[in-house]
């Protein structure tokens, strides 16, 4: 199988327009005859569903939650980037493009990233028209803030709830199309398999999570907008139901998985408090605008933070990176936090935390201003930790947050299975090896509002609008496979709970495939994970039946997939013998301990092809070509 990225020819700034001009169209009268299945209702899924329905396609929209409004995009706090240049600080499409590609450590496609920057402005317009209550200046215009990895203020925000507001905007557009009869919503449904007929994606098998029944749906195209796979690590900032199953099952049906080792560890999360912990909570990185990160200079300094004088505090980001200071990109901030804690300078009971201190900002701007900027985040912190961050510095530690890897897609967002599109975090496309803050919302909505509604026409124009059915052999085979698997999970009746095994997987992933990786550790992970998988299939205990709501069964199925995906992540990390962005190989660092890329050998997208049960995936390489930016070692000094 060869990978064709389908990047249009021509100068960078004209590629998207030229491509759009060449895209085939579907006659408006015929659009109604096509059904598109869209799985997931986060920013990418909801915006795609609404936009395709507006065009006239018949859309079926699926989500695991009880309502499409609850998808995990809702938890994004800080903001969304766009190249509006409203603050007149010399921002531009080029600059947003450049920052994103540099932030991604030159491991993404120029053409994709440039398109993302181009449509970023339309997103802000669209959301505003929908009634998204962005923050405003006194004159009534939109306000901006700055974010990590950029020296301009280009981030739009709605308090600390930007994801929620953008998602509710997309959800409202989606529900408008429900009202118009163009979209059918199927909530509490989990996609458990993809149906491929004659080499084309033609449908899905879902489990109705309330009745337990398997349902099949056919479509002329399928869009996965099912989010990332951070929960492989057990503890992450993802929602407890976020999972990789739809993407992974599609991988096993022929969609290649790209760069699975690129995971983002977010620097500002609330530290783990104990074994009972079920998820980690992120504190928006916008806090780094006003908060100063520090640890005591002396090892084991147990004094309360207020009693440690300034000269005995190590503001390590400010000292090590004078020009970006506390606003270095996420991967750099996370790695530095790990380093100082590894050196024994960490704070709190576990020693696995650093301070994020607002005392100076409160002194300078007053408590009221800080409250206006971050009030809800401070409240959330206090609720969880019982400490008041207006009085004592926050304690933070990095946590798994986002996965840049995902299903491989071409410039049209189509996977290696014709007719299967992948949007948002579920694809690998735009963030390279590290995503900048406030760029996830931008990409999800760019894919759903402004990319898919164009590119999918090109495919559908070549597909017959034939009558859909779900009785073909391919459908039957998929249903049987799902049934067999569900029965198998229930039949084990072993001793360990899903959580226990998931926690163990999390330990392996965090220790060996986490913030810093090396050959020895990765090889160890490649031994441990299959062992754990074996234990899972021989010793898991799933109670209840498949005939009704059974969350343990849902979670068991997801864990079974993580136990395969985790292995691929380790394999990918082992293969990539360089450091780049969120992927830090200890063997490949500069003298100062920074990530050292190896462009000669690794300037490619690693796309893995599934070859069958218990076979090692085959690696395919898509070379990355840089015609417009010069590859430099990232420096935020």
């Amino acid at each position: 199988m060869t990978l064709d990225s389908k990047i249009p020819a021509g100068p960078l700034a004209q590629k998207w327009d030229a491509h759009k001009a060449a895209i085939k169209l579907v006659n408006p009268k015929n659009k109604r005859k096509y059904t598109v299945l869209i799985v997931g209702t986060g920013l990418a899924g909801a915006s795609a569903a609404a936009s395709l329905a507006e065009l006239g396609y018949h859309v079926k929209s699926f989500c695991i939650q009880d309502s499409p409004r609850r998808a995990h995009s809702i938890a994004a706090q800080g903001g969304i980037n766009a190249a509006k240049n409203y603050p007149n600080d010399n921002d531009s499409i080029w600059r947003l493009f450049y920052d994103t590609i540099k932030g991604g450590d030159y491991r993404s496609r120029e053409a994709n990233v440039y398109r993302l920057a181009q449509v970023s402005n339309n997103i802000i317009d669209q959301a505003t028209a929908q009634g998204v209550p962005f923050a405003r200046e006194y004159g009534g215009n939109l306000a901006n803030r700055s974010f990590g990895g950029a020296q301009v203020s280009r981030t739009f925000y709605a308090r600390g709830q930007t994801g929620q507001q953008l998602l509710l905007g997309a959800y409202s557009a989606l529900m408008r199309q429900v009202d118009a009869g163009m979209v059918e919503i199927f909530s509490r449904r989990e996609m458990l398999d993809l149906v491929v007929e004659d080499g084309h994606a033609r449908g899905i098998v879902v489990r109705n999570l309330v009745t337990g029944e398997l349902e099949s749906y056919a479509g002329h195209a399928v869009v996965l907008a099912t989010g990332g796979y951070g929960n492989v690590f057990y503890l992450s900032t993802n929602a407890v139901n976020s999972n990789a199953t739809a993407a992974w099952r599609s991988h096993k049906r022929g969609a290649m998985y790209a760069n699975p080792c690129y995971t983002q560890i977010h620097p500002t999360c609330i530290p783990v408090s104990g074994d009972h912990q079920s998820k980690l909570t992120l504190m928006s990185e916008s806090l780094r605008n006003d908060g100063r990160v520090w640890v005591p200079r002396k090892k084991g300094d147990k004094r309360p933070p207020a009693e440690i004088p300034d000269e005995e505090r190590y503001y390590y980001l400010e000292e090590r990176y004078p020009s970006f200071g506390n606003l270095v990109p996420r991967d750099v901030a996370s790695r530095n936090a790990k380093q100082v804690c590894d050196e024994g300078l960490g704070v709190g009971t576990t020693g696995l935390a650093v301070y994020l201190d607002f005392a100076d900002a409160i002194r300078e701007f007053g408590e009221q201003t800080i409250r206006e900027r971050y009030g809800n985040l401070f409240d959330m912190y206090e609720k969880i930790t019982d400490e008041n961050p207006y009085k004592v510095p926050m304690r933070i530690y990095p946590a798994v947050h986002y996965t840049m890897g995902g299903l491989w897609v071409d410039y049209n967002l189509m996977s290696t299975i014709p007719g299967l599109y992948v949007a948002g975090e579920a694809n690998f496309s735009d963030h390279g090896a590290n995503r900048l803050g406030a760029s996830a919302l931008m990409q999800g909505l760019a894919d759903g509002y402004f990319v898919l509604p164009y590119t999918i026409n090109d495919y559908l124009a070549g597909v017959k609008a034939d009558k859909l059915h779900t009785e073909s052999d391919a459908f039957k085979e998929a249903r049987n496979a799902v049934t067999e698997r569900v029965n198998k999970l229930l039949a084990v009746k072993g001793k360990k709970t899903v959580r226990e095994i998931h926690r163990e997987l999390g330990h392996i992933m965090w220790n060996y495939v986490g913030m810093a990786r090396n050959k020895e550790g990765l090889e160890k992970a490649l031994q441990e994970i299959p062992k754990l998988r074996e234990e899972f299939w021989s010793n898991i205990n799933v109670t209840g039946s498949d005939k009704n709501l059974n969350k343990a069964l849902e979670q068991a199925g997801r864990l079974a997939d993580y136990l395969e995906l985790g292995e691929l992540m380790a394999r990918d990390a082992l293969n990539r013998e360089e450091s780049c962005g969120g992927h830090f190989r200890e063997e490949s660092q500069t003298e100062e301990g920074e990530a050292k890329r190896n462009d000669e050998e690794f300037s490619y997208v690693a796309a893995w092809e599934y070859l069958g049960e218990d076979k090692i995936q085959a690696l395919h390489k898509e070379e990355l070509v840089f015609e417009n930016v010069k590859l430099t070692q990232r420096s935020y000094k």
């Binding site: 309502s67 505003t128 209550p133 923050a135 408008r176 009202d179």
Partner: protein, 250 residues
């Protein structure tokens, strides 16, 4: 500081929508006060699974108070006694050692029980689809700064938009009214210039759908405001009424 407590839980167990439910007692031991309420239930479910019993089903997703998925009536109060807190953000440090805690699902005609503490809130989606939006097609929006919005209006719209759609307002209301939920959406959109155009049809259609879903009428009891985890002000309902009256005179 972390310590541990023991609790007696009385939990509503109901195996299916039409099955008869009952309260079942469970003892939970050595609960760390650092845990969230749902983590405490996770641990209970682990124990039940190990004993071969079916775990207690409850809904949750983000576990950071923003998605609106979780919801349990705790000792008679939706989301429990802490103000401005969803149950996923409620921590065990607020409970006393030896306490008996009662857990029930949202109760309202419009929110039928699916299993144990899980209810069906799809009525909220249908209300939004009846008009909780601004009709603007993808791609047709003008530059965002063409629509200036006075900062106080934008702030108030944001206060209203903070609703997470959890349904606590309905669960708390003796009439099981959805007025706070509906009022919040109507207020958000009617406070913004771009939302004025459809203001009249929006309020009429959403209110009609709310009634069709068997939510009760609002009689100003204000329990909704008291339990709202996002502290949505009851002024939302007053604004909805004003919009409704305005619409009638159009």
């Amino acid at each position: 500081m972390e310590k541990t407590i023991n609790l007696k839980l009385k939990i509503w167990r109901q195996s299916a929508p039409d099955a008869k439910g009952e309260l079942v007692s469970y003892d939970v031991k050595d609960v760390s006060t650092e845990m969230s309420f749902l983590e405490m239930l996770d641990v209970l479910n682990e124990d039940l699974t190990k004993k071969g019993e079916e775990p207690v089903e409850f809904d949750s997703d983000c576990r950071e108070g923003i998605c609106g998925t979780c919801g349990i009536v705790i000792n008679g109060i939706p989301h429990g006694q802490e103000k401005a807190t969803t149950v996923c953000q409620l921590h065990m440090r607020h409970f006393k050692d030896g306490e008996t805690v009662l857990l029930e699902p949202w109760r309202a005609k419009a929110f039928p029980v699916i299993k144990d503490l899980v209810v069906d809130r799809s009525a909220f989606d249908r209300i939004i689809s009846a008009g909780g939006y601004i009709s603007t097609k993808t791609g047709s929006a003008p530059d965002a700064n063409i629509i200036a919005v006075p900062k106080p209006d934008a702030e108030l719209a944001m206060d209203m938009a903070a609703c997470i759609g959890c349904g606590a307002c309905v669960a708390a209301c003796p009439n099981a009214s959805a007025s706070l939920f509906v009022g919040a959406k109507i207020s958000q959109l009617s406070l913004l210039p771009q939302g004025r155009i459809e203001a009249a049809t929006r309020v009429q259609n959403m209110v009609a759908q709310m009634d069709a879903e068997l939510f009760g009428a609002c009689t100003n009891i204000q329990e909704c405001e008291a339990v709202c985890p996002k502290e949505i002000s009851i002024s939302a309902i007053a604004r909805m009424r004003r919009e409704y009256v305005k619409a009638a005179f159009k």
